[in-house]
């Protein structure tokens, strides 16, 4: 299963529409490069890449903090 296929499965989840992150149908057939402006999609990608690359939990947490922290 490719990282794009995994991403698509997350983006197809209704929860993203319910919480207002995506519009209905927006997650279907998404490409890896799509939705760059949506932080939740980027968070998902960080997690997928970290897991596929076999990164440690600490490294993954550091990466997500770098991405989301503004201090």
């Amino acid at each position: 299963m490719t990282r794009e296929q995994i991403l698509r499965l997350y983006l197809e989840d209704e929860l993203l529409v319910q919480k207002g992150y995506l519009k209905e149908g927006e997650g279907v057939d998404a490409k890896w490069a799509d939705h760059r402006n949506k932080k939740i999609v980027e968070v998902i990608k960080f997690a997928i890449e970290g897991v596929i690359n076999g990164d440690s939990q600490t490294m993954m947490t550091r990466k997500i903090n770098q991405f989301l922290d503004k201090d």
Binding site: M1, I6, L15, L16, L68
Partner: protein
Amino acid sequence: MCYAGENRFDFTEGMNVIIGDNGYGKSKLYDAFYWAMYDECYDTNEKEWKKTRLIGNSLISDKAVFESSDSLVRASVKLTFKDIAKDCQYIVERILTGQKKGQEFITDTDSVEEITYRQIAGMTGKLITSPDEVDRIKKKVLPDNIRPYMWFQGEQVESIIDFGERDSLTQAINVLSNISRFDEISEVADAWGESASDQYHRKVKSLSTDKDSSDRLEGERNKIVERITLLEKDLRQYKDNLGTAEEETDKLVNKQEEAIQIRELDVRRKGLEQQLTQTVEEEQFERVDLYQKMFSRRWVLKGSADLVKAYNGKFSAYNDIKITKRAEAKARIEAENNIIKKLQTRLPVNVPEPHNVEKMLRLERCLVCNREAEEGSEAWEAIRQLLSEPDNDLQELEKELATNHNFESDFRRLSQHGYAMEQDIHRVDADIKSALRRLNRLDKRRRSLADDVEKVNNDYANLVTESAIDGERAKRLLSELQAKNEFANRFRANLTRAEIELERKQKELEEIDAKLGDLVKGELPAWLEEKKKLLMDFRDLAQSTRERVFDKLVKQLEDEANKHYRQMMQGNLSAQGIIKLMESSKGNYMPRLVDGEGNPLMQLNTGNIILIKLSTIMAIISARQGSRDTDLYTLITDAPMSVFGEDYTIGFCKTVSSVYRQSIIMSKEFYKNETLRRQLLTDSEINLGKVYMITPSIAESERSNRNSLSTNIKALN
């Protein structure tokens, strides 16, 4: 080992079949595959895999040992795997050598493994010596995680997806899907959510207007968080315990019906056997008593009623005659005496004097009238009578009667006994009839009980064979089920209590968070609030997606399993039902057969269970059809159909040939049933590879000496 000399099988794509009866070498062939790859053979007696060093001698052909001239014997199995896409071959060979030492034959402790890689086009090859490379090639030929679903024996099917094994199906789903990726992502999401929450609360605390209140609230919060963590841990534990108890209960429930039947049959059998023993004893007693009753109940007198009657008749007649005669004689004498008296014809007593009378009798002449009186004449008798007194005649008569033995009293006693026994004699027939009726009843009862015992014993034996549960195990199983149910109830109660408390604590936590928020001076950084929300939402999303993906896989497996189940059940209506992969309270999935309304069907026989499991195994493979996993690997299975009967054989073959690109099946079904064999060879729905018939060189009954035993291989197509 029944294979001697060189034996070769060439398999092609499709379903390859090895046909042979029991004891013809099918399992040995299966063992050969396993041994070559894994240095192990399946010990059917001990139901476990054993390494070469434990079974060495049994791997060598007796014929080879017997015929060996140089005392050295070499056994080897060579498997050639072709990778058509890459135009190459991997040859796996395992070799075991042994030597005659006197009368003994001793094999080497370990076998030798040789793996050769060969390019088909260039005819170049190399022996692989690096252990890592050997391991890599073997895993390429058959990865460890799919081996149980690709290479198995019929009798192992139950354990591949064991209803008792908590997460075997979950493991199977993991094997052929990327669900573990989603689990890992969920773990990452949980860690990120927790980290963001901590960061957020640290910030809230740092911005507080009332440090004391904040500290107090934070202290309370920490306690609640601690308690929540503990409760969540407990909850997981309770769920785990409950799940285990429910799965164990489910497993036992599946056997419950059979266990109840076995227990009932066992109780019934024991009861019947007790009744039979009692009846046999009663019957034996009655038979012995029958002889005793000849005397104790006077049965010997049977039929003597007429005799007694006749005797009494005769005795009565005898008495009558005797009385009559006596009366007549008495009357006659009295009459004569009376007449004599009346007529005074008789001289007075002692006139003439007795000596003169005796003289006259002697002289045969009456000296009174001087006439002749010849002895015996009337005159002589008249003279003789003068010697006796007239009343003495009666006494003489009595004396005469008394001179012979008087049987009268004997006759009377006999008669009296006859009368006394008459009642008994009349009762004898009815008594004998009653005793024989009772004996007959006991005999019938004994036969009926013996039939019942035999029937119950047969039912019991069949059920025990079918379910592999004996009487003792059935008892244990039922008490175990009761105990597991009690455990499950206890865990359920614990779970409910923990859930209620957790809900309360989470509410308390929300209230404290709100209070802490109220103490914040100024505004919390928007990015932090956004981060917290994003990562908490991602945590929920990760969980939701994992469940959705897993459910989809389960549904896909379910559909595939049902497709295979229906195909295998083709034409057989004995066990309707739909396979449902049911989730236990702790998230494990188990295959169950349910009715149209989703209610589990409980009374399944071993055949049904095996079919469900085989369908599920095939579903795991076919759900991934077209992928590398299923196209590259070969199904090798020994006697997979032996437990579910010939009705399902063709359906099974069609299913196997549609699911597996290549399969090798060992079967006895096609040996015994020629119609089935013809169908196998001609049915266009079966994608057939090569079919071989194997037969031993010596019949099993004549195998006291295996020194000439080998296996004949005949290609049928």
